[in-house]
């Protein structure tokens, strides 16, 4: 007697025809959400921790000022002197009136420098600022 294995006549493959579509969908999602890193950091800094944080909803309005451990100030791609902040930021505020300036200052920075920067920002009519901080866990 011959034994014959019974096989189901149903196809046993996962349909892969729609796989490219799914992948493309994922791809599109990531393409839309990606913001490329535009600047290279020239200063070394560590952000302070805080609890009462607010999210910046509109990233296009944000312009960053970095202040490093050694007190160097970076705007965009270059280290700047404190006297130049006013002209640079004034130009930015002209282009984007509702600009938010995010200050990324090192934890060990001194308030004297921060206040000087703030004074320059006031003179440049950049009045909305944001002290960047990490969430305290």
């Amino acid at each position: 007697m011959k034994f014959e294995k019974k096989r189901a006549s149903v196809k046993q493959e996962i349909p892969t025809a729609s796989m490219p579509d799914i992948i493309f969908m994922l791809l599109l999602f990531f393409m839309v959400t990606t913001t490329m890193r535009e600047v290279e950091l020239l200063v070394d800094y560590k952000l302070p921790d805080a609890e009462a944080l607010e999210k910046i909803e509109n990233k296009r309005l944000v312009s960053y000022i970095w202040v490093g451990k050694s007190g160097k100030i970076q705007i965009d791609d270059s280290i700047v002197q404190i006297d130049n902040i006013r002209t640079i930021m004034y130009g930015k505020a002209q282009e984007l009136p509702s600009i938010i300036v995010s200050l990324r200052v090192d934890v060990g920075g001194r308030m004297g420098l921060v206040t000087d920067i703030q004074q320059e920002l006031r003179k440049a009519f950049c009045l909305r600022i944001n002290y960047s901080a990490n969430i305290k866990i």
Partner: protein, 173 residues
């Protein structure tokens, strides 16, 4: 003898499309930075030549931080982390008062004060305001401030405005 030409199916091979898409996908996965910017928002005052209007003393809460990170609140030395609990009752006591009598917190530092202490103090002040707002909206609307509708939120905002004045530093001893 005539042989019929076999028609060739003219199609672009699409079996490698998934691979190409995967490659692109991986590139964007790696390049994506999904970090939301978080921070403490403030609005700087405009530069004016006019002297600031006189403010009655009971409206003001003056926080001073010196270069050793010691905190002085209205002349009394307290620790950095007591700022919130000290300010909260004062904010609550002024909820019912008209707009011109709400609490103003003034934060003043020395030029040598460490930034971290300043942010911690600012954080404490903001937290005090946020917690009072939360409690107020909880008692009035039964919800947290963040879940309120726009109108209710406006009302709470009017009752408890966050007024923080950043004083220019001088040598605080």
């Amino acid at each position: 003898m005539l042989r019929k030409k076999r028609s060739l199916g003219a199609s672009i091979p699409s079996s490698s499309m998934a691979d190409i898409a995967f490659l692109l996908l991986i590139f964007f996965l790696v390049a994506t930075v999904i970090d939301v910017d978080t921070g403490i928002g403030m609005t700087l005052p405009e530069i004016t030549d006019e002297p600031p209007p006189p403010v009655s003393k009971d409206r003001m809460a003056a926080v001073l931080i010196n270069e050793n990170n010691d905190v002085l609140l209205d002349g009394k030395p307290i620790s950095l982390f007591q700022i919130k609990s000290t300010l909260k009752p004062r904010i609550v006591s002024k909820i019912e008062l008209p707009k011109k009598k709400k609490l103003i917190v003034s934060l003043k530092t020395d030029r040598k004060t460490v930034y971290n202490a300043y942010i911690s103090a600012l954080d404490q002040i903001k937290m005090a305001f946020f917690e009072v707002r939360d409690e107020y909206s909880n008692s009035r609307f039964g919800m947290k401030y963040n879940d309120l509708s726009d109108e209710a939120r406006k009302e709470v905002k009017n009752a408890i405005p966050i007024i923080i004045s950043l004083a220019e530093p001088e040598a605080v001893k």
